[in-house]
């Protein structure tokens, strides 16, 4: 470990020490990142390459890429130290002497050092590799790529971090470029393999000859090489391709162009003919390499200074079948005629050339799993990556059948029985609706029609689950002499449209407490604050007798409701008035029905029902803060399934409901039940929450919200006198 740290400090020293620019131009912060498995388990011992895109202030740096390496530790963490740390080190050594820069390491673990295996990248600003490496990190405007060097025998793939930009000013101890994730089972690569040609190749291992290049016979990553003998002023290759768009990449080797009139002299040095004058390296722009595909010139590499080493990319259209590639160079000792001028070349462009084809390709990305409840509809927006072309259509397919269905994103809920949907709209997507519980595989494929490319498709497991009905409370306390058992849909944990708590809150209010004699059994915390007290002693419950006795002691108890069906008219008229409240008393044995919706406005109503149950068949509402409603019975309160508001955040019932026996929320059928929203308080020996919504996925079947105005307007006669103030003689 110490060795490892020291190794980087050495490198970092030379990085800054040799930088001639002002400090901020050469400083980059500590960079940390992680290499993980898909489950965020650390992957130690792999090399991470940090590659610089080049500097804005030094255009030449764009021509080359500098890379440094760090190995992941036990935590899967890779660390590139800031240059200012190296600043303090004793000057000495060079970047080349650092194994990670000099490539005296074996990053892919194949037993061969990188320096012997990978063609050396060209230096950008300077010929001297050691100095060049100092320029190419920390330049302002530079962006970085972080990638894992894949061990040679590994079949999986690592993701990459690209276009990473740093604030150079504040050297940050906590900059994380992100995470690199290993995918053990990568999707197959595009049907057209990438073929690379490395001229001037080593002998071992043997590679197929490029003379008989046939792309269809190559697998991904395979290489053919050109022998030195093949390097000519013009190299022609024939190859076969499935056709379509591709990008041809060429790296030209080192060399120098000399001004006109110079020719090859002794020791292969340029010499001006005749007078023997001095030759100058030219600084103008000249062609060095010309590239033709099927006889059509697709581009030229040109010189920005005195050397020609650079990377070039040319978009090309390949035939389905035979293709020809021609590369015209000037090679060492030759001269090149351009617009009647003649320049002389010293170097070995051809001998260091490398060429590769990158065909048009595309890939679909999906999350590995998506949870969906029965009857829930979610929009699926796959990630589509395309290269050298655009995707034209995306097809969604479900298998096996019967668990979910597909349709356009514009349609909302999908009809059952549709298992394939093709989207050609500008934003590729589809809706998916859960039909029955079980797992189903969603396959998303895509096509680049013009380019004749089938994208790498992606699969996701859709977990369709059946969500039981549930209930939820907002802002208020929940007090029970028993247990609370509630299962909030898992989707609420990740979905902002439903809260992942049993007691939620609105705005800046507190969520309320849960006080239980028993236990809280749920898959979520009771509230954001988690105010929960379990295993308390039993609570004393207020009952009908308590309220009746208080009205009797005030002398207002008098049976004044005689009919068993009452409406809004009855509660807006008559009643026994006392301190601004209207009291209604009903006695059984026949049950009392509220037969229709009631809107009390600012009227305050208290209803006592003795020896009978109360059936509520309509909504009950009043002006918040002005009206009041309280119903008390020594039997049950039955709420009809028809009681619902149907409007978001508008309650169906408002008031305080007290039942000595049960409060029954009322259910019709799963297909017809609507949410019961009660704004107020429910006190009962037993809560029977029967409603079961068709869409339980994100909506509670019963929702109770605390109404503070009810407590402001609570009848004073029902308040216990806890203290008696009495004047006493001193």
């Amino acid at each position: 470990m110490y060795k490892f740290s020291a190794l980087f400090l050495v490198f970092l020293f030379c990085f800054l020490y040799l930088s001639p620019e002002s400090v901020e131009a050469g400083v980059i912060p500590t960079i940390r990142g992680y290499v993980y498995t898909e489950n965020k388990r650390p992957i130690p011992g792999v090399w991470v390459a940090m590659t610089n895109s080049g500097c804005k202030w030094c255009p030449k740096c764009l021509r080359g890429k500098a890379t440094r390496y760090a190995k992941t530790n036990e935590k899967g963490e890779f660390v590139f130290e800031p240059v200012y740390v190296a600043d303090y080190l004793q000057p000495g050594g060079t970047c080349e002497s650092n194994p990670a820069i000099g490539r005296m390491i074996d990053t892919d673990f194949d037993g061969v050092l990188d320096a012997e295996e990978i063609p050396k990248a060209p230096s950008g600003c300077m010929d001297n590799g050691a100095r060049a490496c100092t320029y190419e990190f920390g330049c302002w405007g530079a962006k970085y790529t972080f990638s894992v060097v894949k061990p040679f025998n590994l079949t999986g793939e690592f993701s990459k971090l690209t276009e990473v930009d740093f604030n150079n000013a504040l050297v940050d101890f906590t900059i994380y470029p992100g995470e690199i994730i290993y995918n053990p089972d990568p999707p197959p690569v595009s049907n057209t393999p990438t073929v690379s040609l490395y001229p001037y190749a080593k002998e071992e291992p043997p590679f197929p000859s490029c003379l008989s290049l046939n792309i269809l016979q190559f697998g991904s990553g395979e290489v053919c090489r050109i022998s030195q003998d093949e390097c000519k002023s013009q190299n022609d290759y024939t190859f076969f391709s499935p056709g379509g768009n591709a990008v041809l990449k060429i790296y030209t080797g080192m060399g120098h162009l000399w001004d006109q009139g110079c020719k090859q002299g002794p020791n292969n040095d340029p010499q001006r003919s005749g007078s023997g004058g001095v030759c100058d390296q030219i600084s103008q722009t000249y062609e060095a390499v010309k590239v033709l595909v099927n006889g059509v010139e697709v581009g030229r590499t040109v010189d920005l200074g005195t050397d020609v080493n650079s990377y070039w990319e040319f978009p090309v259209v390949l035939n389905n079948g035979s293709n020809t590639l021609s590369i015209k160079h000037i090679i060492a000792g030759e001269s090149l005629s351009i617009e009647s001028e003649s320049v002389f070349y010293k170097g070995a462009i051809c001998a260091e050339d490398s060429i590769s084809f990158v065909p048009s390709s595309c890939q679909v990305n999906l999350p590995p799993a998506i949870s969906l409840s029965v009857d829930e509809t979610r929009q699926i927006l796959p990630g589509i990556e395309s290269r050298n072309g655009s995707v034209d259509e995306v097809t969604f397919t479900l298998e096996p059948l019967g668990y979910a269905s597909l349709c356009s994103s514009n349609l909302g809920k999908c009809q059952a029985g549709i298992y394939t949907y093709t989207d050609t709209s500008p934003v590729f997507g589809a809706n998916i609706t859960g039909i029955s519980s079980g797992n189903v595989r969603l396959n998303v494929s895509a096509k680049m029609i013009d380019e004749k490319v089938d994208c790498v498709s992606a699969d996701s497991t859709i977990q369709v689950f059946s969500q039981n009905a549930w209930f939820q409370v907002r802002n208020g306390n929940v007090i029970t002499n028993s247990n609370i058992s509630v299962q909030i849909p898992p989707v609420c944990i990740s979905n902002p449209i439903c809260s992942p708590y049993f007691i939620t809150k609105r705005g800046g209010n507190s969520p309320g407490l849960a006080l239980l004699s028993g236990y809280y059994n749920s898959n979520v915390n009771v509230s954001e604050k988690n105010w929960l007290v379990e295993r308390l002693r039993s609570f004393e419950q207020v009952n009908f007798e308590f309220f009746e006795s208080l009205t009797r002691s005030e002398g207002i108890y008098q049976k004044n409701l005689t009919k068993s069906n009452i409406t809004q008219y009855d509660l807006l008229n008559s009643g026994i008035q006392h301190n601004g409240y209207y009291y209604y008393f009903y006695e059984g044995p026949e049950n009392l029905n509220i037969s229709d919706d009631i809107s009390l406005g600012s009227r305050k109503v208290v209803l006592l029902v003795k020896n009978a149950s109360l059936f509520i068949n309509g909504n009950i509402n009043f002006n918040d803060g002005q009206g009041f409603f309280m119903a008390i019975t020594d039997k049950n309160i039955y709420v009809s399934p028809d009681v619902y508001s149907g409007i978001n955040n508008v309650p169906a019932l408002e008031g305080i409901f007290v039942a000595d026996e049960g409060f029954i929320s009322g259910s019709e059928d799963e297909d017809f039940d609507k949410q019961l929203f009660v704004r107020g308080t429910v006190i009962a020996e037993q809560l029977s929450l029967q409603r079961n919504l068709k869409d339980n996925a994100t909506k509670p079947a019963e929702f109770f919200e605390f109404a503070p105005d009810l407590y402001m307007n609570y009848p004073s006669i029902f308040s216990k006198k806890l203290f008696l103030w009495k004047e006493i003689t001193p």
Binding site: R41, Y88, P184
Partner: protein, 276 residues
């Protein structure tokens, strides 16, 4: 008598057969246990699944590493349960048929709840750098420094007076092309967002980092020079001016400075047995 023995042995055979069948199916469906963490069993099945996702799956050290990760997950869940942050369920806990996605959700739930309890401070720093070595731009070191101070003072005063927000101040720095004369990288250097817990650093200037904890929520700091110690600079030298806005902070003297601290407390209390 013969009939009795026939019935007896037939009965014994049936019992053995039934027990055998039950044992067969039980042993076939239940994965071996590789560790017990407190009250939770960690199954070979879980370990093998995790290893199947790992590039070095055959490395015994990696196997040990992943097992330790599974043990850590279990401790997080049990500790989270103990603190009431989650409630354990066989759906994701102590089962050889657990829902892995759900388990990770719960682990992350505990992590974020613990994180929320930590002391933290968050906000935005605005900086203007100036050339600071012998190639000190066309204004020279002192000239650049004075110019940077004038620019940042105006911005700081306007943020403090409520004329502009901190984000607007950042945008003004980024769009002020005259700053190129002070710092080539003035645009990327204009801003740094921070959200740190105790012990975490933001800048290379330790004194500046201490100041971040002294400013109240919603307040704007004074202007401070950032100092860097470098032999290139010839020792400790002011290299930039900065001020910051504290968006939110919580200081409760929580004894845990990070999630790992919190976890360490429980690692001591929850026994771990590995079966390897």
């Amino acid at each position: 008598m013969k009939k009795f023995f026939l019935i007896f042995y037939s009965g014994v055979f049936v019992v053995i057969f039934v027990v055998g069948v039950i044992f067969y199916f039980y042993s076939r469906e239940s994965s071996p246990v590789v560790a017990v963490v407190g009250e939770e069993k960690i199954y070979l099945k879980d370990l093998e699944y995790e290893l199947s996702l790992h590039p070095n799956r055959n490395d015994p050290n990696v196997k040990e590493l992943i097992l330790d990760e599974l043990i850590k997950d279990s401790i997080i869940l049990q500790a989270g349960n103990k603190e009431g942050k989650i409630f354990l369920s066989p759906a994701f806990y102590n089962s050889d048929n657990k829902n892995y996605e759900f388990r990770f959700q719960k682990i992350n739930q505990v992590k974020s709840l613990v994180q929320e309890e930590l002391d933290f401070v968050s906000g935005t720093i605005v900086t203007i750098w100036f050339f600071n070595n012998d190639r000190a731009g066309r204004f020279g070191y002192e000239g650049g420094k004075n110019s940077a101070y004038k620019k940042i003072k105006s911005l700081r005063d306007r943020v403090s007076n409520g004329e502009i927000t901190i984000d607007e101040a950042v945008m003004e720095v980024k769009s002020d092309t005259t700053l190129f004369d002070l710092d080539f990288a003035y645009q990327t250097n204009a801003k740094i967002d921070f959200n740190i817990t105790k012990g975490q650093r933001v800048t290379f200037d330790e004194e500046f980092d201490k100041l971040i904890w002294t400013v109240e929520e919603g307040d704007v700091s004074d202007i401070y020079p950032l100092r860097e110690n470098s032999f290139v600079l010839g020792g400790l030298k002011e290299v930039a001016y900065a001020f910051f806005y504290v968006k939110a902070r919580k200081i409760s003297n929580n004894e845990n400075t990070n999630f790992e601290d919190w976890l360490e407390n429980y690692k001591k209390d929850i026994p771990v047995i590995k079966y390897q």
